[in-house]
Amino acid sequence: MKKQNIPEPVPFKFGKKLKTYLGIAAGVGLLALLIAVFLQQLPSERIWANLWMNALMFLFLGLGALFFWTVNTLGESTWQINIQRIMESMGLTIPFAVILFIVAFPGLKDLFEWTHTEHLDKILQKKEAYLNFPFWLFRFAVYFGLWSFFAFYLRKISVKNDFEPYEKFLARLRATSGWFMVIFAITSSMAAWDWLMSIDAHWFSTLYGWYIFSGMFVSAVAVIILITIAFRHFGILPNVNAEHLHDLGKYLFGFSIFWAYLWISQYLLIWYSNIPEETVYYVERVNNFGTIFYVNVITNFLFPFLALMTRGAKRQQLYLAIVAVIVLMGHYLDLYLAIMPGAVGRENASIGLLEIGLPFFYLAAFLTLFFIFFEKAKPVPENHPYFIESSDYENI
């Protein structure tokens, strides 16, 4: 085993320069919103849909990271321990997503037609027991309550081991991860139905929850890659080497293919059976949002498939970062396609200043919270029993 000289880590400081950049980004986002509302005077559904879309993307990053951490813990895998603190800190942003969702609540009537209880058609009446605001709100609270609890509790266990390593540490982490996994599986699907599928309330697809999950996961992996590369570049995580990048690249590659697999499963089955109440979903998208529809598949499948196929591609920092950025934007586009046709419609939906600018605010908010949490703990869990294994392995 080559024993390179691993330099001392540069301690992470959430300093003035970083805060200024984030402030500028937030400002750009807010400016885009203000221009959209006051100058361009865009229709309100479009504004609310954008707020909704960004809140979801914000949540997906944290939730996807929490899932990634816990599933690796359950699988007794160890390579990810060197970047575990990144995933932990991302997970801690989940409770704050609540605020971003609530900010969009005034737009619920625009987004969801089932909220218009005065004139529900026959189909929506049949769904009323589930799609009604009080029950919906209750579920909203339950999802966030549970996810936030796990994000904080898992973090607590992890940080506790830094200072007082204890015997039951791994077992506690595994057990908690197990509980989270079951709860996540159920709540993530239900959240996808509540917050996305019910925008097209007359439509349904049993695969939908898993499909949204796959996009969530790939987005989170892309952001983990970007943060890991940044930290590696600035010497904050000197133990992270090409092997870790390779593994992260494998996940980006593999799960982009998994996303595409779920995409084609849903599309092919609905296309093949040609049942009108199902096909209406895709007809709307292919006819009225055609370019974005196909760009979505190319950016989220064809591009990462070809770009990340070779071994070398996954081990090169800059290349991997660029691919991750493009894929992240691609999944944002996927979310756009999930929301805009149903919430806004062809005449008013478009990729404009608002769609491009607003994400900067949410990105800045996400990173601000992330950096605050990352600073609070050691950059790597050095007392983790698998820590050495994490730094000492090789890919073929």
Binding site: I264, Y267, L268, W271, Y272, N274, M309, T310, R311, E394
Partner: protein, 173 residues
């Protein structure tokens, strides 16, 4: 007449050390034979990366294209049929077979390339010098042909690395 000098180790770590030593002395190693792939041996012997993945990729592209184009031809030119109202160029339907043929071609092309490149196959007789290589011996083989040293010098060098049972065989490899 080429002489072949060989010896073995009972431990892969010793083998790695020996290989590094021999390489440092500038001796060209004809072959190293092990019961399992030894981690780090490829790097020590400075093997170039195998080209089999490229074979798989090219074959996969060929297989996928053949599959897709054939289906398109069958349903647009060969005998277009109305199956459940689907268009003749029913691309979503063509995805499964295209995918399967891609994998089939890639896998088999690579497998056959592996056998051809390594000169393995049904009926091939291997030149086994030490039957225990497939059990627990890690064998290093040197030839006079590859090196500018004599048999005696090679044998000495090999023995100096700690190899056991250094033998010589005077056959053409």
């Amino acid at each position: 007449m080429g002489a072949i000098i060989y010896g073995h180790f009972t431990d892969e770590l010793e083998l790695l050390d020996a290989v590094k030593e021999l390489k440092d002395k500038g001796i060209r190693i004809a072959d190293v034979r092990t019961p399992f792939p030894v981690h780090g041996l490829d790097a020590a012997l400075k093997f170039p990366r195998s080209h089999l993945p490229k074979v798989a990729f090219v074959a996969g592209v060929i297989g996928g294209s053949l599959g897709l184009l054939f289906q398109v031809w069958v349903f647009t030119k060969g005998w277009p049929l109305n199956i459940g109202g689907k268009p003749h160029l029913s691309l979503p339907s063509f995805v499964p077979v295209t995918f399967e043929l891609t994998i089939l071609f890639a896998a088999f092309a690579m497998g056959i390339a592996f056998l051809l490149r390594s000169n393995l196959g049904p009926g091939k007789i291997p030149d086994i010098l030490d039957e225990e290589v497939t059990n627990d011996h890690f064998q290093v083989i040197l030839t006079v042909k590859n090196n500018s040293l004599s048999e005696v010098e090679l044998a000495e060098a090999l023995a100096a690395t700690g190899a056991l049972d250094v033998k010589q065989v005077n056959e053409e490899k």
